[in-house]
Symmetry: C2
Subunit: 154 residues, 2 copies
């Protein structure tokens, strides 16, 4: 039963290790950090327009930002997490704790929630309901924080 | 008439300079490089599956990769090109030639082609026509190269 409970992401992480053998650990880290940085930029744009009101709300820009976040979230980043890419092997190049690989079911659950929330954000950002965007934005941010709290070193 | 000929991207570059004033030049460079690196990773996945045949073709993975490229291309990266972000100001942090800002119409034209081709790639990648994917992939790559040849230092 336990084998069947392994989440899709956990399975993807394991399955991807072979397929991505051509990517060095350092490359995996660089590319996943690039993805998170680009998502963070787009989260910042939505925050400025919908949460903080620091910039005027522009539906097309918020939708484009949310689409970028969702498409990156759905791009199979699990392939960038082979077991030799933690701070134990790579030191300060990454903040990924080795514990990530002792808790793949939990990591997979959080990853799945993140993808679900990112898709929801893109879905509501296609419209003009700023309250719904705000809620979905908060859910995405919560997923980010949940993973950082558990698996990212300070 | 000339003013009316300024492309959408060129206009976006100019208009964005004020809106993105909170981003330092170094941050703009980092984020745009992150975007290109993440797109390159996804181009590599499509190349391996559809062009080189080094990995088996997986329609869902190719579609996800193409969606990530398109969404990043549509995310308003022009905002990351303020005139103080070239190699003239930032040295080796960036390969962007200062000439970019003397040729905004040309840069905008290439940027527009890139977005168009990225959207076409995502569109055909939703289906199974590998010949169409191959063609669209080549067009995206051609847009990348066109900009690199003109505006990126070796």
């Amino acid at each position: 039963m336990k084998a069947m409970m392994i989440s899709a992401l956990a399975g993807a992480v394991l399955a991807s290790t072979a397929a991505q053998a051509q990517l060095k650990p350092e490359e995996q880290v660089e590319i996943r950090q690039a993805g998170y940085q680009f998502m963070a930029w787009n989260m910042g744009k939505i925050k400025a327009q919908v949460i903080d009101g620091k910039e005027p709300y522009d539906q097309a820009k918020v939708a484009a930002a949310a689409n970028a976040i969702a498409a990156i979230a759905n791009s199979g980043m699990g392939a960038l997490y082979s077991p030799d890419t933690t701070s134990a092997q790579l030191g300060k190049q990454t903040r990924l704790k080795p514990e990530f690989f002792d808790n793949l079911e939990e990591a997979g659950r959080i990853g799945g929630e993140f993808v679900k929330h990112a898709n929801q954000l893109a879905s509501v950002a296609a419209g003009n309901d700023q309250a719904a965007i705000k809620k979905a934005f908060g859910d995405v941010g919560g997923s980010c924080k949940s993973c950082h709290d558990k698996f990212r070193a300070d």
